[in-house]
């Protein structure tokens, strides 16, 4: 059976060159990068090259501004809590959007328990944050704004540059969760105008367990962990050297390959975005039709539920994901889909197809062929589809 992996938003495959680069650090270069002997030197060399590779990918010249973490969740926790704590002398109000990743939203909620206040800015039906809404949310005591660069559930790319034009004159620290875009789209932190940015290795063909937070020099951040003085005293704990080395290599490859990858994947994505709604009635494209991540196609299929679609697609060799309540362990519909104004019933039919470097046009053809009968099969079982048919088509 054909196997088609369309869940690159959840995890990307490790590139062979990346695995190769990591191997010595799982072998002879096992040393602790904080140590002053040969073994330490080798590990430190791997770590510092990775720091340069990451800096290079996001347009940073001062490599000390890069702090390695265990991934996107830690970077976001560190940014939200650490930056808020670092600026609290100036005020205790933070602003986030309604579609942030849980590692941002829940961190901001933790800040509330610590005596901070939070304002959540809404999004439009495409999941876009209106910079004017950010402006409205800002108060005299606002110290931090965090808006994601691209939403990994609906693919929408947010107008960060426009938001920076509001936060910068107000002297407010601007953080962006760029886990969805770093290594996928060319970006430069100065150009974006942000003060801090989160990224994660496993979104651009690096290993899991590595990420980074870039914080502009001069912006105060309080560490999450107490311990040694690794990462310039900002992140205690021995670095995950093999994973970070892999992330560095993946960043280096991404820098050269991103533009071509994005072009090719956008074309495949556009075929999914046009073909599936053409072949299946009552399908809603979620997220922005144009301002979206390359390779990211997301939908809500009405009258049926996402997990059931995932399972039937899986039986045909196709791997996808969904933001339906039944798919989530929390059994709640995706807050992102609800924030875009979709009802819970429609959000239940969420389906996310995320393409990666290994996907081909044949993969897209295969999905376009196997999905419609699956939808039909589930709709034949659905009491909601029944009602729709009886109402609109005058019964059977």
């Amino acid at each position: 059976m054909r196997k088609v992996y369309l869940d690159n938003a959840s995890a990307t495959p490790l590139l062979p060159e990346v695995r190769q680069a990591m191997l010595p650090f799982l072998g002879e270069h096992f040393g602790n990068p904080s140590c002053l002997h040969e073994w330490g030197d080798a590990a430190r060399e791997g770590l510092e090259s990775a720091r340069s590779q990451i800096a290079d990918l996001i347009g940073v010249t001062d490599t000390e501004e890069i702090i390695f973490t265990s991934g996107g969740t830690e970077s976001n926790n560190f940014a939200i809590k650490g930056l808020a704590m670092g600026q609290q002398a100036k005020g205790k109000h933070v602003v986030v959007s309604a579609v942030e990743h849980f590692s941002v939203l829940n961190s901001a909620q933790t800040l509330e328990k610590w005596g901070f206040e939070m304002t959540t800015v809404p999004v439009d039906r495409y999941g876009l944050v209106d910079p004017q809404e950010v402006k409205k949310a800002i108060r005299k005591d606002t110290i931090l704004v965090s808006i994601m660069h691209a939403n990994t559930e609906i693919g929408t790319i947010e107008p960060i540059k426009e938001i920076a034009k509001i936060t910068k004159p107000a002297g407010i620290v601007l953080h962006t969760d760029a886990v969805g875009t770093v290594g996928t789209l060319p970006l430069n932190v100065r150009d974006l105008g942000v003060d801090a940015l989160s990224l994660a290795s496993n979104q651009f063909y690096g290993p899991k367990g590595a990420g980074a937070l870039w914080v502009r020099r001069g912006v105060r951040i309080i560490p999450l962990f107490d311990g040694g003085v690794q990462e310039g005293g900002r992140r205690a704990g021995t670095e995950n050297v093999p994973a970070i080395v892999g992330m560095g290599k993946a960043a280096e490859i991404a820098k050269g390959a991103m533009a071509e990858r994005a072009q090719r994947l956008s074309a495949l994505r556009d075929r999914l975005l046009t073909e599936l709604p053409r072949k299946i009635e009552r399908v809603i494209v979620t997220g922005h039709p144009q301002e979206r991540l390359p390779g990211h196609a997301s939908f809500c299929v009405e009258f049926i539920e996402g997990e059931a679609m995932i399972m039937l697609l899986s039986s045909q060799g196709v791997a996808v994901t969904s933001g339906s309540a039944c798919t989530s362990r929390a059994l709640k519909a995706s807050h992102v889909l609800i924030a875009t104004g979709l009802t819970h019933a429609i959000a239940q039919g969420s389906l996310l197809l995320s393409l990666g470097v290994d996907n081909t046009a044949e993969d897209v053809d295969y999905v376009v062929e196997v999905l419609p009968p699956i939808v039909d099969r589930l709709r034949q079982m659905s009491p909601l589809y029944d009602k729709y048919i009886k109402q609109t088509k005058g019964g059977r």
């Binding site: 539920e305 997990e307 059931a308 309540a325 059994l331 079982m381 659905s382 909601l384």
Partner: protein, 129 residues
């Protein structure tokens, strides 16, 4: 490691008794799309036995497998026997359900019992004729 048991997968992939009954003796509808799952059961009763059962389900894999299993467990049984089917006995027959799915998706027995209640209430009305 798969999330669902082989039995759940088997019922999900090949659900029994999907559909509707024309002029059913009882209909039971439970759940709503907000919480996730919705099930409608249709029954036909003859000589106090469930002569036919059909269902329609909007929901996840577990919800579909549960509906199918309940229909199979109750088919041909007396009403009293059918009323002894519980969420627990359904989950046991399915060789277990994931913990988080036990309450939300395991509405099949409830839907069947509602269809039986509906049958009873129709009987009372009909008996007065």
């Amino acid at each position: 490691m798969p999330v669902y048991s082989e039995k759940v997968m088997e019922h999900f992939m090949h659900p029994r008794n999907v559909g509707e009954i024309e002029n059913p003796d009882g209909v039971g509808e439970v759940g709503n799309p907000v919480c996730g799952d919705m099930m409608t059961f249709y029954i036909k009763v003859k000589d106090n036995k469930l002569e036919d059962i059909k269902f329609k389900t909007f929901g996840c894999g577990a919800a579909i497998a549960v509906s199918s299993m309940v229909s199979e467990m109750a088919m041909g049984k007396t009403i009293e026997e059918a009323l002894t089917i519980t969420p627990k006995s359904v989950a046991d027959e399915l060789e277990g359900l994931p913990k988080q799915k036990f309450h939300c998706s395991n509405l099949g027995a409830q839907a069947l019992h509602k269809a039986i209640e509906d049958y009873y209430s129709k009987q009372k009305v009909g008996g007065k004729k």
